[in-house]
């Protein structure tokens, strides 16, 4: 059962990957979306751990608690959840096939600009919600070093 700090550390590691991927978002928006979603998962779990010490058993369990107890956060999280499922699972099919004609790439559905907004707006707001809820200086992103 991971601690709040363990979830925060995993969130920070996801952010480190996001920092590497974001400049490549035009080419790899599926992965930006996927990593952003899993960072949000750890943030939500850290909040739940803070609230009552519990861990979600699966996505459904986590989603339902967000829906019912944190509706405003769920609105932000839900976009990430749906986007990451499309990014991971929607079949594109082989070029030249009917599948490919109807849906060729994730970036035709959700543009890189929209994906960047998922990170800069949705994920950032989720992070702020968690930092305000948990308090005590927990960080889900390593602060940028100032020179």
């Amino acid at each position: 059962m991971p601690s709040i700090e363990a979830h925060a550390e995993l969130a920070r590691r996801n952010q480190a990957v996001l920092d590497l991927l974001l400049p490549l978002c035009d080419a790899h928006s599926e992965w930006v979306t996927t990593v952003a979603f899993y960072k949000a998962v750890h943030i939500a779990e850290a909040v739940f751990k803070h609230e009552d010490g519990s861990d979600s058993t699966d996505h459904w369990d986590r989603n339902q608690r967000l829906r019912l107890d944190h509706s405003e956060t769920w609105k932000l999280y839900s976009s990430l959840w749906m986007a990451s499922r499309v990014a991971r699972y929607l079949e594109c099919g082989d070029p030249g096939t009917r599948h490919h004609q109807s849906y060729s790439t994730f970036s035709r559905h959700r543009t890189p600009s929209q994906v960047r907004n998922l990170v800069s707006h949705n994920l950032r707001k989720i992070e702020q919600w968690a930092e305000n809820t948990i308090d005590g200086g927990i960080l889900f992103t390593v602060p940028q070093a100032t020179s």
């Binding site: 509706s71 499309v86 929607l90 109807s102």
Partner: protein, 155 residues
């Protein structure tokens, strides 16, 4: 001729010491004690009530999904309500591939309403929005056999 209670009912009283004989439509015959018969009846009533209540909740869910579809139909290619692994999924296929952000936000609002609806709870229901794609693509999310089209929800 008016019917007496005896004409309408087979009365089985808890203090009756005889067994109850049953004959089914396929001529299967079996016996239960009175206490077993009463216990079986109670289980049936509870199950029947639970099924009726679940059916009402499913109808409420179908109605909500259909109303939502109706008010958003110009933007929707197709919509399905499926049941799989103990959960309902309201799967909406938008028109066109580029994300319809307004449709997504409205669908998320519906998702919250369903989760909080006293008519629908405690049924488990979630929503999912997909870009316009062919049937094989949708299969990844909900197998064809589990899909039920929302009535008239195909454009």
């Amino acid at each position: 001729m008016s019917l007496t209670n005896d004409d309408l009912f087979i009365r089985i009283s808890h203090d009756d010491e005889r067994d109850v004989s049953f004959v089914t439509e396929d001529e299967n015959r079996f016996f239960l004690s009175v206490s077993e018969t009463i216990a079986a009846g109670r289980i049936h009533i509870q199950r029947r009530d639970e099924l009726n209540e679940t059916a009402e909740r499913v109808r409420a869910l179908q109605k909500r999904a259909a109303m939502w579809w109706k008010s958003h139909s110009p933007d929707i290619k197709a919509a399905y309500l499926s049941y799989r692994q103990g959960r309902f999924t309201f799967l909406v296929i938008q028109k066109g591939v580029p994300l319809n952000e307004k449709l997504e936000q409205d669908l998320i609002e519906l998702d919250i309403q369903l989760a909080k609806s006293l008519e629908v709870r405690p049924l488990s229901a979630e929503v999912m929005l997909l870009p316009e794609c062919d049937d094989a693509c949708i299969h990844t999310f909900v197998p064809k056999a589990d899909r039920r089209l929302i009535p008239h929800a195909v454009h």
